[in-house]
Amino acid sequence: MIKAKAVKLDGKFIQNIKLVGKKLVFFAVAPVFLTSCQVPSFFAYKGSTTQAQAEYKLYTGFNLAAMIVGIFVWALILWSIFRYRRRKGDESMPAQFHEHRFIEFLYTIIPLITVLVLFYFTVITENQVDAVSTTPNVRVTIVAFQWGWEFKYMNSSGNSVIATVYGNDGGGNFSTSTVPVAYLPVGETVTVTLESLDVVHGFYVPEFNFSRYAQPGHINTFDLNIVNAGYYPGRCTQFCGVYHTEMQFGIKAVSPQKFESWLKSHSSAPTK
């Protein structure tokens, strides 16, 4: 008897959920179409390297998924709050149900599938972002230290330095004029080797949607394929001591021709 009653209640329960669900999907998807099929940027940089743009695509996809999940769950919470609040003088006893195997199964399996899909796209994007070319056009070794940066431009085999850009705060007197600015070519593959002379630092360029630790004892290598010319401020993100705040740098992305002439004018004495 008790069982039969429970089933009847649960039928309504599912109906309710379906109804709410339909409304929710509408509200979640509507804004996307309203902006004439343009996916919102969710406040992120669209990215100025191919790697950054891959990240940006993943980021917007994740945000759309999060928005749908979020709006669905928030609506369920708010619905419960407003629909099931106890009115004054209402002493009736709510139904004492405490499980529903099928719905419990659903809200286990659907999130599981969702995260597996997210994982699939993550792996694809991560492989793009982390790929390192064997034949880059430019090799740069970036050395972080307390508190500054050194950009060493290497020859094509990567074993000798042809130019350096150096910026050091000289013990806390860092002003914008001493921020080291490194030139890099647009449309070419730049392979960066990242090292640290002392503690852990973070190489971070917001508009490249990318950061990587510069750390003692572990050298990192990654590629940058810059797509837009321009000036990109960058800075240290991993706290590295008292002048961490001032550990800034800039990347100036220019055409390959301009880059070559800049490199020539900056070359140190030709090294063997």
Binding site: A54, N63, Q96, D130, G217, H244
Partner: protein, 580 residues
Amino acid sequence: MTVITPRHTKVLSGDGNRGDSVDLNHDDDLEHGHHAGPSGILKWLTSTDHKVIGISYTVTALVFFLIAGLMAEVIRVQLSAPDLHLVTQHQFDELFTMHGSLMIYLFAGPIAFGGLANYFVPLQVGAPDMAFPRLNALSYWLYLSGSLIMVSGFLAEGGAADFGWVGYAPLSNGVNSPGLGPDLWILALLLTGFSAIFTGVNIVTTVFYLRAPGMSMWRVPIFTWNMVVVGLLILIAFPVLTAALVMLFADRHFGTHIYDATHGGVPLLWQNLFWFWGHPEVYILVLPFFGILTEIIPVFSRKPLFGYKGMVFATITIAGLSTGVWAHHMFTTGAVLLPYFSLVSYLIAVPTGIKFFNWIGTMWRGSIKFDAPMLYMMGFMIVFLLGGLTGVMLASPPIDFATHDTYYVVAHFHNVIFAFALFGGLGGIHYWFPKATGRMLRETPAKIGFWFLFVGVWGMILPWYWLGLKGMPRRIATYTPNMDYGTANLIVTLSSFLIVISVALFVANVIVSLMKPVLAGDNPWDGHTLEWYTSSPPPSHNFTKLPRIRSERPVWDINHPDHRTLVGHGKNLKDPSAAS
């Protein structure tokens, strides 16, 4: 070590059908022994009563919360506009390091696991005290001395530790961070770490061995279940932190080079060890508050918990998975890019989702009364959800590359922490304050405080997320006007004042409620679990009688005989002690 044996067993054994409650009074063992002791401050100093220790923990943790909050406000004022120099760079570093350290090590963990769990786990399982009362007292004194040692760092020459609450090597070694402050920080973490380990042993033993007759594991309230899982997680994780700290200390003082790359050591080892503790730690922090949420929602919805067993399995799954995801804090090291860490991190979203739907299922078609505890729990759920969603994003290495060590991460973790520690913590205290003191907290200031908190929290985290996406790094002491961070930071700072108002209202509420008591009675919320069966506050050995326990809400069953919890798919168990 004195071990308290489950005395009730002999009262009940072989006697399952004696009506709805069992009188423990003739067990005269219960009523003497511990009583003729000292009184006043000496009583407090020497007490081994879990309730006294629980209150000490809670109050101490709240004091450190206020101190750490004050530090946060100094940071917030400094960052409220470009180019402000209220404090020097070095002082700024001390402030964010100690703010984070106090909040994590001395507040968020201890208030739940040392405070609320200490007080309510024995009550919820019908035990007279913790299994090892003296060890319990030792835990508290270790915690208090560790805490005082940590803040005493400010008095040391060179100041307090200033390398962030995570103490990354090699910044934290003797060359880069010389001085007494960092040593005190290490010592403090060792002491509070042992305190956590001992409490873990105590809680797990208490729940495994001191449950009242009829209280099978499948009838243990979820709050207590979560504490058991947290206890086990502590036993897995904290020894690793202890080892890492000992090695750091050896590097600083005994000439080892464990984390020193220039002498063949491995700096990355620190990060691996730290986060091997650190990620389980975030679940050590949050699971107790999930437990509070799970206690409060059914009571105020007048319904049994939806999916009790699912809840237990979800907790265990979260704990299990949490031991295998530490490297998601280290994606940008470039040394742990294995997709495995990303996958397992995502998987944690599944049991967490189950919890959310179970809470909603509990409210569904309930009769919900929004007294302060329930209101705070709604804040908890609504705010936490966003933190959970951004957490999934951060588990994706490419997205983490873009946001790591920026305000996006600061926003993410304050998002979840505000949800559980502020909404969950304050709500939990509103819920249990009547039990521990016999007095109600005032509803009106609690509700006004809720709205200040709710607006303040969103006003902080949303601009923080935005700042992170615009590239503002964390732990910077100031910024220049050309960076356009000013407006958002001003909103954050103003919002943080709203949180201050909310916390001040809470403190005032506690003081007023203690001075002008509104008596609570034994069960003001129509609670479900055993703590609501005894007096408020409970007598020294907690219970003079126990009800029959045949579901996870024995007190409800007594008070609502017509709506008893269905057990085993509608079958009523005949003998309450049969399943124990």
